[in-house]
Homo-oligomer: 303 residues x 2
């Protein structure tokens, strides 16, 4: 099952050096989840060959503009391009008001349902679940209420050893039960032990997105043991004081968090406009946590 | 005196084919005026090498998103980048409310003054004037209230014939009076007739911006005799019915308007996403009005 994330924006605060504000596109089993939506996200989707209309779920971490100013344009374009299927948006409650005011003054009646789910940024909670994954909030510590998101795949069904089943002429009608781990007694009296005819599926993967936050141990439990951790790394550690003032994290701290919580891979992003080149941030993080990558525009990471 | 316009966006409704929604940057004597501000305008300014902080005046024609969704991001970035000088915004009144709501929820207190001037889209009126130009509204006919803008240069002072003045040892203190067209009597008794020592300055130029509108003869008087007319040309004339339904203009109509009103040059833009290539629109307009150009991204036109 495909589970990968494509970076659409890696810049904090303002667009600069061809870096766009925050946005990521998560593909889980060919369902598309947009995480944050800075200005120009719809243009980035076009640039990297994604159809915006495939997105059915949008998660907005907080109401600083670099994380949502592109949303109204994206929703408007979907309307103009004839979308009819619903869009589910998880975001701070005030965003519904902001969208409504803009639709009102353009006299736009969006022709597809926008299902708005307000997020309470106080305790971690599951806010969404379908057959592929579940999503829990991560309570971050920023200047305004801000939540990260933890995307956890569902455990897949067991895999059939099809060659053996076919060789022994097991009727295909029994396959679904075998996939679910059931031992079988067939009408002809044969008993099939599940473990002889199936193998375990892959362990479900976990992707955590920590958008804007001060280093704070309280959210570490929420991101423990994730396969890929995206964590903001706005500054080099020499700017720790500035990071603390603005409630952001340094590359070194992001790496320490990845190490402490047992992440397999770390993606860093949300880079300050003061950094024209990003190599120093990458090197600083790798000095603590080797398996770190820059979450820069157009790159896709398998989780 | 420099008087030129750079196109930052040429797309109607949605960004497509690397075309961005409407925005233009007018440079009059090194003062910068932004006209409309679709999503991604701040990125376009960076792309084409303009400093956003040089802009002191913003004119928004109407509240369809493709003409203003980039404004909040631009204003936020100016704030984050330390702007302190005022920004004057001319726009429909509701835009102030839309901006305020977004600043409120990001807990942003903009550190430079935003001087908001609401536009009444009912009768043509002068809304701005400085030493370089004046700006009048053009009452367009769109689905929601929409105004174009007519930028008219001030008549410049007379040009001195400096060689002659120097040869005759006329004291430099008299130059400002000569520039203003005054005849002089010098202390030594010489009489200088102004016409002997100055030449007329260039005629002031006029740039008209007609963003979104149905063909409507009522606004033609406002744009009569302009040097450069920007007029939307969303569709080819074969789509006239669709143009009428959506209150837009065809390329043929835009050219007829340029001809009827005696424009010297026509720029067409606001192209529908149905047109991957724009040559048919240009050819259609040129069949009526030869001096037509495509107002596409990154092109600068001297007015």
């Amino acid at each position: 099952m495909k589970f990968e994330v494509t970076i659409l924006g890696s810049s904090s605060a303002t667009p600069v050096y061809n870096r766009n504000p925050s946005a990521q596109l998560l593909n889980c089993n060919e369902k598309f989840y947009l995480i944050d939506c800075g200005e120009g996200t719809q243009q980035q989707l076009i640039r990297y060959g994604f159809k915006a209309n495939k997105i059915d779920y949008i998660f907005i971490s907080h109401l600083h503009g670099d994380h949502y100013f592109g949303l109204i344009g994206l929703l408007s374009s979907l309307h103009l391009n004839g979308r009819i299927k619903p869009m589910k948006i998880f975001a701070p409650a005030a965003l519904a008001e902001i969208l409504a005011l803009q639709f009102q003054h353009s006299e736009t009646i969006i022709r597809y349902p926008i299902e708005f789910e307000p997020i309470q940024a106080d305790t971690p909670s599951m806010i969404f679940e379908n057959a592929d994954l579940s999503v829990e909030t991560i309570i971050l510590n920023h200047r305004i209420p801000c939540t990260g998101f933890s995307f956890v795949q569902k455990k897949r069904l067991r895999k059939l050893v099809v060659e053996k089943l076919e060789a022994e002429m097991v009727p295909i009608e029994y396959y679904p039960l075998l996939k679910r781990g059931v031992d079988l007694e067939l009408p002809d009296g044969r008993v099939l032990l599940n473990l002889d005819y199936t193998t375990d599926s892959e362990d479900p993967k976990k992707y955590c997105y920590c958008s804007d936050t001060l280093y704070d141990e309280r959210y570490l439990e929420s991101i423990r043991g994730c396969d890929t951790l995206y964590h903001e790394a706005t500054f080099l550690h020499e700017m720790l004081e500035r990071a603390n003032q603005t409630h952001h994290t340094t590359a070194l701290q992001a790496a320490q968090i990845a190490q402490t919580t047992g992440a397999r891979k770390l993606l860093i992003g949300h880079f300050s406009s003061r950094y024209k080149t990003l190599l120093p941030l990458l090197e600083e993080a790798r000095s603590v946590f080797e398996n770190t990558e820059l979450a820069t525009e157009g790159n896709t990471f398998t989780i």
